[in-house]
Symmetry: C2
Subunit: 482 residues, 2 copies
């Protein structure tokens, strides 16, 4: 993709904007030196890079409001940033933008065990939310792989999930309220520590909106009581599609494990070489984890074993100790790192109805042959959230483009079987032009009109989520209309 | 409240509109005779009545689109109507409106047990959704008291809950997708049989939007496997507030019953006289139901009994048979009917953080003395969804107004303790002017601006949800701007 580059007008505007921002923020919270802003040139989708005009690191909601008001007045785009772990380019700057980082806003503001919620500033990392309540035996459920680093702000922007979201839902199911600042600097309070919303439910709209509607500065999060225990079982199969069918049968039977994770032969072998988890020699495996008291765990695992037995597994490995449980999870948790050791890869994120797993896995195999690119499949199978890893060689001309084409084909396949372009990574810049495969023009137009309400000048997180073809026109006309 | 009455302009417009509607609908689907439209003059909030200009009963999404297009062109307001069971006046007509009833659209369009969903036309009644899948041991979870009559369209409009929603969530947690027609006649497809939405999550916005954004004609609903069994326990207390504290402790302990229902002395005694359920002589009782296999049920009930024991219950009545379970539920299920036998009443619907139950119950008692009106408390305590029933005499001058004032005080109290004006009945006309107690002007303005996007002329379900003071001006100016 082409990135806008700084021109003279941009550079002369920079001085004015930085001066105004410095009037409302401490000096160490406004970053504008060229070598310093480079730290914000990309997120975890490192194929795309562009240093911003400046970056700011406010500490309060009021400072965020002051920054947005200035940028709105100056017509400067703003890219909100949590911890920069987006895999879809959600926090990628444009050359004329101010990065608004919430990392200094990481306080716990309120903890309420009676009503089971915690209120935090949005820059707090996912894992440290659980950290703040675990000595009282509570936890925050959504657990993206990046949970050590990723911020709640980013989790809300992308409606993040994780391995254990099959039972507890994704971010939207665990978010009770937010404080959000609009591009014009208005501070909104949306939702709270209660069941429902009166009037329009803006909270559901804001969760997953990828920084298009406002900057979330505080979040009220549902916390849950830790279960008594948890135990995984590993089931190995000779065939990807049979493993997929087994997942569909478990879900259909109404069992609700905490997680059902899938790995194919490429991932299993690569992981074994890397982490030596002792996985069986097989073409596909499932790791299924259940929770509860010992008796509840036994009951659920018995039922799962019975369902698995109907699919001719080559091994059903029950865990009999904490060590055995850790060994079962070791390979899965090492999978992305292991693949990264052997190749560059692109990690996709599509969601499909669970019953389509066998069909989609089969078709991905065919596409892999057709494009001549290897694909590793390792994903949250229980809720149909696929993460195919397409292997490519970044040093080989045209390989990235080939990989992107194949990725687009796989995501279109997800939509074709009744699924969705994204499960938890978001659209970002990565999938913006595929939105036309998911949505009819009327559907997209309504979404963009909702953005108009919150951000009439289209300054927030520019050039993302919506296809450039339609959204660019919108952006230009609204600025021209001033 | 004052209702607009038909004037000459309205009557002359009526003939033109009816003629155009008759061109796109079968003749038996356009109702315009005075004595016939009277059937649509109110919903279950019968204190307010107003016959509409006409009523239409389309059978397809395309017919709905044609009706809305005509009404949009003619500037005729449209009030969508499910089964007319709204307790907040959500389907109350205005004199110049067309009622758009979806009752003829009640087909099951698709059933998919592998992916656990059913797709229905929105006029299908709640209970008959379960009816369509129960022979395969599945069910649809949200269960409003009116489930025999109420339509899925109304459930979506109000984000309906029910006694068993503590475990399974309310409508928004069980709705996967909709087909919706905007006031301008555009047909939108939102969501589907997959985990997440790409771009803005309009589905969450539409659920609970009370017919302000469009007319939902089809819904994709999550269905769940029926549990092996379920069993209630009845716990009786000497004191309302102690019962409230026991609920808070159960929730805090992380047990997740399917339902925790609360009844106070007025409700218990009235119900006993009416239904002879054999309830103990006590000031407050809880009915707590848990689900699962026999072993799971025993485990959960043991834990609940231990928690209850700490609150000095005067009786803990375990069920040992299906008959005993039915007897425990009999009184609760008869409560509204029993109160209706002895008095007129207004049923409120506020939601509070569970830990505020004791405080709010105490304050409701004080308000009852202050206003000189009796209050019965019977509600879904587990998720803090209160339904105080204020008793009044419809034949006594000023009693309804006094009751409404007291109701407003109770709902303001709910907001004050961190709760919300509504749990499942919606705002409708009943609470529109209380919205200013829940929301700051900026918050309300953003909600109204989102309505602007979907319904720029403010023709859909007029004079509801938003305070008249702000929304009326909006409506006038948008029509004047044509």
């Amino acid at each position: 993709m082409e990135m806008p580059v700084p021109n003279t007008a941009v550079l002369s505007k920079k001085a004015a904007v930085v001066r105004r921002l410095s009037e409302v923020l401490p000096s160490d919270a406004v970053i504008h030196e060229e070598r310093e802003v480079k730290a914000y040139e990309c997120d975890a989708l490192t194929a795309y890079k562009c240093p911003p005009l400046a970056a700011v690191l406010p500490s309060t909601t009021e400072q965020v409001a002051a920054v947005l008001k200035i940028c709105h007045e100056e017509n400067v785009p703003v890219v909100p940033r949590g911890s920069g772990t987006s895999l879809a380019g959600g926090a990628l700057p444009t050359a004329d933008c101010v990065i608004l980082g919430v990392s200094r806003m990481n306080e716990v503001l309120e903890t309420n065990y009676d009503d089971r919620y915690v209120r935090v500033q949005s820059g707090r990392t996912n894992l440290s939310v659980t950290g703040a309540v675990e000595e009282n035996e509570f936890f925050y459920a959504p657990d993206p792989s990046s949970q050590l680093a990723c911020a709640i702000a980013g989790n809300i922007a992308m409606n993040s999930g994780g391995a254990h979201c099959l039972k507890y839902g994704v971010t939207t199911n665990n978010l009770m309220g937010v404080k959000m600042v609009t591009m014009e600097g208005e501070i909104l309070e949306i939702g709270g520590a209660h069941l429902d919303a009166a009037g329009l439910d803006l909270l559901g709209l804001i969760c997953g909106s990828e920084g298009q509607l406002g900057v979330v500065t505080e979040a009220t999060l549902r916390i849950l009581r830790k279960p008594e225990g948890a135990r995984p079982v590993l089931v190995a199969f000779n065939d990807n599609e049979v493993a997929g069918a087994c997942v569909a049968d478990i879900i259909k039977a109404g069992v609700l494990p905490v997680a059902i994770e899938f790995m194919d032969r490429l991932c299993i072998e690569t992981t074994e070489n890397f982490a030596q988890a002792g996985y069986p020699d097989c073409n596909a495996l499932l790791i299924i984890e259940v929770e509860g008291s010992d008796a509840e765990i036994d009951m659920q695992l018995d039922l799962i074993a019975k369902i698995a037995a109907k699919h001719d597994p080559i091994e059903v490995r029950q865990s009999k100790s904490a060590e055995e449980s850790a060994a079962i999870w070791l390979g899965r948790k090492s999978a992305f790192g292991a693949i990264g050791q052997i190749s560059d890869y692109m990690c996709l994120d599509g969601t499909i109805p669970v019953s389509a797993l066998p069909q989609v896995l089969g078709r991905i195999g065919e596409l892999s042959e057709q494009y001549g690119l290897q694909v590793g499949n390792v994903f949250h199978a229980g809720d149909g959230n696929m993460h195919p890893l397409i292997l490519y060689n970044a040093n080989k001309d045209g390989d990235l483009e080939l990989c992107e084409q194949m990725g687009a084909d796989i995501l279109r396949l997800c939509v074709e079987v009744g699924g969705c372009l994204t499960g938890e990574h978001g659209v970002g810049i990565e999938k913006r032009d595929l939105m036309v495969d998911q949505y009819a023009p009327d559907d997209l137009d309504i979404q963009m009109s909702v953005k108009d309400v919150f951000d009439p000048k289209w300054l927030l997180n520019p050039a993302k989520v919506f296809p450039l073809a339609s959204s660019d026109a919108r952006r230009v006309s609204s600025i021209a209309a001033e």
